[in-house]
């Protein structure tokens, strides 16, 4: 047993912190999804993304031959932690491209697709920004029931349908689209395909969906006879479901970076309590300690998941376990943090004013965004169902 990072990883951690010091404004705390809110935020995020690309950190987990860093599991873990702690912007350029589009193309893409799209992502190029079209109005948790169709007509697919909750679509050059290429299949997850669609395509319209705080993360997309060349099909036609599941499994490490973000907020809250002379208040002390325990617990579990993957052990329920705990932890961190901030926890996150927003508004940001996160990539309840079925081998309850 050993629960420490090696010297190599600690060295890497210092290197990341050096990067932070050089490239981020002093005291900067990046908040999740914030980079997509405004053009200004986005420009800054992309400028950092390009610097990350130079370090190969933008595609840290990619093999070197595709322009990645080919990092070890533990380097990736350290990077995710630090990325969360510092809130490094531009880290995934909207997530899709670096996290699953690139890796999926390496597995299922044609040589032409690989050569066309992969380098743009790895370079942090604006044309390397992707979004992902999975969810539809009537298929959320029940993803396989999606209805957007792609009909083969000559050398093209004609796409019709609607996608929703598409984050980063307003910044993306391409969309990684799940659609139905065969109708009336025996099972609903048959007949699906993954197709690459240029966001500039004719017939594709975007409707921004602001969240209730005023932030812009989600979009609605309408496909009205959108014509896409057949070479944009990824992998095998009608075999999209298994490719999609593979792609979903690349979406890991959320708990790791969230853990880092929680440590940062805890650190900041402790300092805040010291500065405002509340550190001796027994309630503040107990609350902070309580958070510290839960954060340490989440971190250790997410390390265990990473370790299992690293050991090539079968990892089935663990990411769901970590996600479910992470959802609950973020809610708790933000709630307890808000209680400590008191009246200052009511600040507007779209209109931060250093006179009023304590901790640069990060507690309030998590307060509202933890909800979005609990919903995204499978709600907490969905994760619980997965854990029950695959972690505890209990019968299906839904």
């Amino acid at each position: 047993m050993d629960f420490q990072f090696g010297e190599k990883e600690e060295q890497f951690r210092l290197e990341i912190r050096e990067f932070v010091k050089e490239n981020l404004p002093k005291g900067f705390i990046g908040n999740m999804f914030e980079e997509e809110h405004t053009d200004e935020n986005w420009a800054f995020a992309m400028s950092i993304a390009q610097k990350l690309a130079k370090k190969k950190w933008l595609t840290i987990s990619w093999p070197k031959e595709y322009g990645g860093m080919g990092a070890s599991t533990w380097q990736k873990v350290v990077f995710a932690q630090e990325a969360g702690y510092w809130g490094i912007p531009g880290i995934g350029m909207g997530v899709s491209g670096t996290a699953w589009v690139g890796p999926s193309l390496m597995l299922f893409g044609t040589k032409e697709q690989q050569e066309k799209y992969i380098p743009l992502i790895a370079a942090g190029d604006p044309d390397g920004v992707w979004c992902t079209g999975y969810s539809e109005p009537d298929s959320g948790s029940d993803l396989a029931s999606l209805q957007t169709t792609a009909k083969r007509v000559g050398d093209n697919y004609i796409i019709n349908g609607q996608k929703v909750w598409t984050s980063c679509a307003h910044k993306a050059r391409y969309i990684w689209l799940a659609c139905r290429t065969q109708q009336n299949t025996e099972k609903k997850h048959q007949g699906l395909s993954l197709i690459i669609v240029d966001m500039k395509s004719k017939g594709l319209t975007l409707n921004p969906l602001k969240n209730f705080m005023g932030g812009h993360v989600f979009n609605e997309l309408f496909f009205d006879d959108v014509k896409v060349p057949v070479e944009n099909l990824v992998g095998v036609e009608n075999n999209g479901w298994s490719q999609l599941m593979t792609a979903l499994s690349f979406e890991r490490g959320l708990a790791l970076s969230a853990g880092g973000a929680c440590v940062r907020i805890l650190d900041e809250l402790v300092e805040y309590a010291k500065e405002t002379d509340r550190i001796d208040d027994p309630f503040v002390r107990q609350s902070l300690a309580d958070l510290a325990i839960d954060i340490e617990t989440l971190q250790i579990l997410s390390f265990e998941s990473a370790w299992k993957e690293d050991q090539k052990k079968i990892v089935i329920y663990e990411p769901s376990r970590d996600k479910a705990l992470c959802d609950q932890l973020l809610e708790k961190v933000s709630r307890v943090g808000s209680d400590i901030l008191g009246v200052y926890s009511q600040m507007d996150i779209m209109n931060k004013d250093p006179r009023w927003s304590k901790l640069k508004g990060s507690v309030e940001h998590v307060y509202y965004y933890c909800i979005g996160l609990a919903i995204a990539a499978g709600t907490t309840d969905t994760q619980r169902n997965i854990i029950a079925n695959f972690g505890l081998q209990l019968p299906r309850s839904y």
């Binding site: 009537d138 969906l209 209730f212 979005g372 309840d381």
Partner: protein
């Protein structure tokens, strides 16, 4: 014992609900967030015209002398509809203590203007410690001739930017006992030296910073007795805690209705998601808590109405509201899935108010401390019977 609303209350409930539904639909609530005043002055005028500002004030000043219960029902409906307006600040935070502690002259001068003209009042109490204890009051008022001169800063004062008059909690004397030496001044918001700035809050509910710089207030503008103002603040808190809890209770009922309806309608895996046991049980647990809150608030209000105001119950009402509101909003939005997070759904409007509601009139910790006080000095039945 009688858990039903009286005829009067039923009438108020019905009319106020209809009024708000018509005059302030949720899209209006959204729009008002983007305005300077944060509320709809036309609706305010209608409220005045319908006599709601005088709901519980004495007839001699133009009111209809209703019960405190009527006001509680009004606040439930206001909270149910999350109607932004300075009703609470004017009536609960200022009107009520003026009726109790004001001189006849003051009442004659002030109350008719509130009731008939809709003059807006607010209470400036919070300062930077923001703990609702008397030791947070540092704004000074020093006598100079016929005037007191006020210096200091008040924070998060609701609707101060629209107020005609501000009830200011000031320190006229410093000493060992922080409760002593506090005086309440009624200050014209236009007085020279007052600077008001709106603080950017999530709910955009016009919480203001007020800086007082050598603000002169005539000494007859004291409410109650000099140096003994903390009693008035306590009086305000007792009643306003219950009214704020009523507002939150109404909000909880509305949110619960929204989420129950949504889960019944929303289908996944070919089933209404309300058929999933984990969701059902979460809803069920909320129902119990919300019903409990509703009656706790009503009981506290009832005791105030009959002149038996109970500090224990008043604090329980607010603490209980605080305990439920956040959890309910959080889980209700999550149960909606992504759509719950969007601007177009009403649920988010409720959640944007969570943090300010929690701190208005005291957080859970504050009220539990008050309850502990009551427990400590209460003589239990077993000691009496077995003595």
């Amino acid at each position: 014992m009688d858990f039903s609303l009286g005829v009067e209350q039923k009438l108020i409930q019905k009319s106020v609900r209809e009024f708000f539904t018509k005059e302030c639909p949720k899209d209006k609530v959204r729009e008002l967030k983007e305005t300077k005043s944060g509320f709809d002055s036309k609706m305010w005028k209608k409220l005045v015209k319908l006599g709601y500002l005088g709901l519980i004030f004495p007839e001699e000043y133009g009111g209809t002398e209703g019960e405190f219960l009527d006001l509680m029902i009004f606040m439930e409906e206001l909270g149910r509809n999350i109607t932004p307006c300075p009703f609470f600040t004017t009536v609960a935070l200022c009107g009520i203590p003026i009726v109790k502690f004001g001189t006849d002259e003051q009442k004659k001068a002030i109350l008719p203007k509130i009731i008939e003209k809709g003059h807006i009042w607010t209470l400036a109490q919070t300062e930077k410690k923001a703990n609702n204890y008397s030791n947070e009051i540092e704004l000074t008022a020093d006598l100079s001739g016929d005037n007191y001169v006020l210096n200091g800063t008040k924070l998060f004062v609701p609707f101060a930017n629209s107020a005609k008059q501000i009830l200011v909690v000031a320190r006229t004397q410093k000493g060992k006992d922080a409760n002593h030496g506090i005086t309440l001044f009624m200050v014209d918001a236009k007085t020279k030296g007052i600077n008001i700035e709106v603080i950017p809050t999530a709910a955009k509910d016009c919480r203001c910073e007020i800086v007082f710089k050598d603000v002169k207030v005539p000494k007859e503008n004291i409410l109650g007795t000099k140096d003994k103002g903390w009693e008035i603040v306590d009086y305000i808190f007792q009643q306003a805690s219950v009214l704020k809890a009523a507002e939150m209770s109404g909000g909880c009922q509305a949110v619960f209705d929204i989420i129950v309806n949504y889960t019944k309608e929303r289908k996944q895996f070919n089933r209404s998601i309300a058929s999933f046991q984990a969701i059902q049980h979460r809803l069920v647990d909320f129902m119990g808590r919300i019903e409990g809150l509703k009656f706790l608030v009503r009981k506290a209000a009832c005791e105030i109405s009959t002149g038996n105001s109970s500090a224990r119950l008043n604090s329980m009402a607010k603490a209980s509201a605080n305990k439920i509101y956040h959890d309910l909003c959080y889980h209700s939005i999550v149960l909606h899935g992504a759509i719950g997070w969007t601007e177009e759904m009403d649920i988010g409007l409720y959640h944007l108010r969570t943090r300010s509601l929690l701190f208005d009139m005291g957080d859970v910790h504050f009220h539990k401390e008050k309850i502990a006080d009551e427990l400590q000095f209460h003589s239990p039945a077993f000691k009496e019977v077995y003595s």
